[in-house]
Structures are given as structure tokens and as C-alpha cells.
Symmetry: C3
Subunit: 208 residues, 3 copies
Amino acid sequence: MIFNFIPKEFNFFDLFDKQIDCAVEAATRFKAIVKKGAVDEADLKAMKDIEHRGDEAAHTIIDRLDKSFITPFDREDIHALAKELDDIADMVYTIINRLKVYKVTDADKNLVKFASIIDESVHSVAVAVKCMRSAKHSGSVVKACVEVNRLENVGDDMRDECLAELFEKEKDPIKVIKMKDIYQDAETVLDICEDVAHLVGSILVKQA
Amino acid sequence: MIFNFIPKEFNFFDLFDKQIDCAVEAATRFKAIVKKGAVDEADLKAMKDIEHRGDEAAHTIIDRLDKSFITPFDREDIHALAKELDDIADMVYTIINRLKVYKVTDADKNLVKFASIIDESVHSVAVAVKCMRSAKHSGSVVKACVEVNRLENVGDDMRDECLAELFEKEKDPIKVIKMKDIYQDAETVLDICEDVAHLVGSILVKQA
Amino acid sequence: MIFNFIPKEFNFFDLFDKQIDCAVEAATRFKAIVKKGAVDEADLKAMKDIEHRGDEAAHTIIDRLDKSFITPFDREDIHALAKELDDIADMVYTIINRLKVYKVTDADKNLVKFASIIDESVHSVAVAVKCMRSAKHSGSVVKACVEVNRLENVGDDMRDECLAELFEKEKDPIKVIKMKDIYQDAETVLDICEDVAHLVGSILVKQA
């Protein structure tokens, strides 16, 4: 029968869920790491593993996209969403790796605060992504996206405060160089979350 | 009548004008701020307000784009132009904010020069954007775009000179860190202006 | 005859070849420069010239794209490939220029190693791009793309090692600032090569 030639609709939502689960796992672990103050080999291995699983989900999405006739929403939006969700765990891994490379062994209270904001934001992104499946949850999607935007603004102010304090109190230029990079990376995670929220929001508008 | 269901063509040009007016205002104020040497709270508030107005115009464009059947040029070009015009005032705000966060209170003669180049470039972008409305002004568009490209090259050289001088004369590493960021931000404004000019140029070619 | 109105298919592949030849030339010269340890005016002029030739090829591609009815693959993929190939030589030029601006006169053994990896990666990109012309060479394209991905990972580790060593051994913060930028730029070249490989890979999949 001819219909056998038409691939069945692939369930992209299951893979987006996998991606955001990885991002949530990464954010949670990041919070735990900065609380104890330093990265050890086990943390790095675990984060690498999380990032790798997220990567696999992203690759599967892109791969299936090329083979699917029917997609739940615009092909390019699926592509962009897979890419941006991937960027979350990637960026968290970048920070963890930087803490190791820069041999930062006393993550400060500011970074702990930052990790909490990131954790909150990634959890809101998870709500937005998971509620995309069904039109009846569009209210939850919108609410979650608004929260992600709010946290991005909180993150901007947080980074400014961190940098102002760093330049005021830290007299060792090498330490300034290191922590400046790390605070900026932390803020970038929130920017990426906001990008995802914007994309999810615009997908919702198109479907309405 | 069925035609009532078809939204009228929205005047996107008016909103692009609003966006570029904000960018011009931002560039003008930036020039004034670095001339007096430091940012005060009133400057920051005014810049935040300019950036906010530009943001609103961009959001309106994106919003109307989803609801319009007829657009003056490619939907994705409209989207990209709204986004890139928004980036100009955003980036100027970033510099102003950085001057405050880094507590730079003596913007140097190099930054004053940079602010003048930025001001010139943004004014040329304004000519290009405002002349897009009518085919008979395409000569002015092209001329303005060429000028923006020229100024981007001037900016590249300017940044190189600024950095070379900074590394040669400034012995305080903390000050090097601060001014290096600020010079690079300044050059980024000119890059964004060039992106806008490229986009406007390619829209013109497609319409010809 | 009506067919006279239809522009002949332009040979985009010849121009992609020109672009990648420029990138190879840039990578080769970069390797030679860091081996001798410093940039002189002749190097800078030569690199500027290479970058300029690559730029011209990119512009010709974009220009012809607007005028061609028939293209060997998706218009937006052609556009993206031209842009990304251009980025390779641009980024190599950025490093060379930075070495001059920062007055680095003793490029270290780490940078020499980095330049070798970049040279290998760009050569693999060249194989991938040149083998795109014919379906029968798709095996070579895939093999080359895998190699580019591998070298990007090597580059990531290389950058981490370089930065760790820099922060450990270099006590002069100004030198840390300079070399940190240069190592990161070097790694960026490998990222760009990977972007090209991904794009070439996805073009191949669509054609299959």
C-alpha cells in the first residue's frame, strides 16, 4: 500500500522533553557544584554525560526532520528549538569546565545566587516546552515564558552587581579575569533560556 | 464583505522610522555622555527609556507581521530588519551601562572619537532606512550604505589603534580589562550598523 | 527564443573552490607566521590580500544567487555556505591582526600546535567542499566532515590545556589577557570549520 511509503509522524515532543530534561539535570547539578564550591572529576564526567545525552536527542530530531513529511509545527522552528534547547546544557557545561580549567575552588555566594536563578529559569523553560503538546495548556506556556523573561532581567541586574562588586573588591587582576568570564557565562545561560521562551511563544502564536 | 476579513497593509515603514529614530537618539546621547566623561543616573534612565521605546516598535512590527497578508517586502527581511535595528540602541545602552558598572569616570579622547564615528554611522543608517520607502530614492539608500561600510572599516582601525595604545600605555591591568571591553563594544555598534546596511542593500536588490 | 531570458546555471562550485582555496592559503600562512614567532608587515599585507580575494568570491556568489533561476542546491544553503566559508579566512586574519595589535612577538609552542590543527581542519574542509560537486564522492565528503568534527574536539581540549597552563605559569596579567584572546580566537577557527562541515553534511543529506 502506498501509505507504507509515507513515514509516520515522528513524535518530536518526546525528544524535546528529553532535551529539556537534560537541561534541567544540568542546572540542578550546577547549583549543587557551586554550593560545595569546586568542581571535581565526577562532576565533570556527569556533566559531560548529560550534555552528550542532550546532544543525541538534538541529532535525532534533526535527522528525523529530514525524513518526516508531517511535522507538528514549522520545520525551521523545530530545527531552531532543537538547537536552542541544546545550547542550554552546552552553556552550563561550559561554565563547569571553565571552573575546572581556571582552577576556581571557591565559587562565591554570587555564583550560588546565579545558579539558583538559572535553575529556576530552566525549570520554567521545561514547563513551557512540556506544555506545548496541547493547545489546552497554552496558558501555562505563556505564564512560563513570562517568568523566563523576568528571570533574564533579574540575571542582567545580577551580572551587573557581580561585576561592579568584583571590580570594587578584587584587587588581583587574574582573579578578575577569571570571575568576569564566569559571571558572563552564567548570564548567557539566562539569555539562551529567553531565546527558547521567545521561540516557544512565537510557535504558539502561529498555531493559534 | 469578505475583504473586511483581510487586514489592511500595515505601514511597517513608520515603525522602522521609529526604531531608527531611537537609534539616532541613543547615538547622540552617547556622544554627549563620553564628552562629559562619565555616566550619571539621568543618562542611564534616559538611555533605558530610548531602548525601551525602540523595543516596543520592534515588538509591534513582529506582532503585525504575523497578522499581515501583504508586506512591503519579504517577511523574513522585515523580521531581520526589526531585529537588527533594535540591536543598535541595545548595544549603545550596553556600553553606557558598562561605563557605569565599571565605574569609568574619565572616558578618554579615543572613546570620544569612537562616539563620533558611531553617531555618523547611525545617521547614515537612518538615511538608508528612511529612503527605503520609495524607489526613486534608491540612489540615496546606496550612497548611505556605502558610507556605513566605510565607517565600519574606520571603526576597525580605530579599535586596533585604541587597543594598541591601551596595551602600550596603560600599566594597570584592571583598567586594561575595562577599556578593552568598552572599545570592543564601540566597534560592535559599527558592525551592527553594517549588518543593517547589508540587509537594506539586499532588500533593495530584490525589489529592483 | 524564450530560453535566452533564462540565465544559465551559474557555476557556484567554482566560487566555493575559490573561497576554500583562500581559507587554505590563510591557514598555511598562519602556521608559518607562528612558527617564526611574530607578524611582520608583509604577513599582514598578504593575509589582508587573501581575505580580500575570499570576500570577492563570497560577494560574487551572493550576487549571482539573486540572479539565478536554477541553483545546485537550496538558495539559503548556498548563501550560508558562502558566508561561513568567508568566516574562516576572516577569523585567521583576526588572529594575525591581533598578534600585531597586541605586539606579541613570541608566539609560543601552544600556538604553533594550534596552527597545525587549524591547518589540518581547513584542509579537510577543502576536501569536503571540493567533493560536493559529484554524488560519487559523497563518501569522501562524509569522511572529511567526520575529521573536521574530530579536530574541533581536539581544539577544545587544546584550548583548555592552553588556558590552564597560561593561568598557572603566566604571572603577568597583561600577558594573560593577550594570550587568552588569541587561544580563544584559534579555537573559534575550528568552530567555524565545524559549522561548514555540518552545513555541507546537511546539504548532502537533502540531495540524497
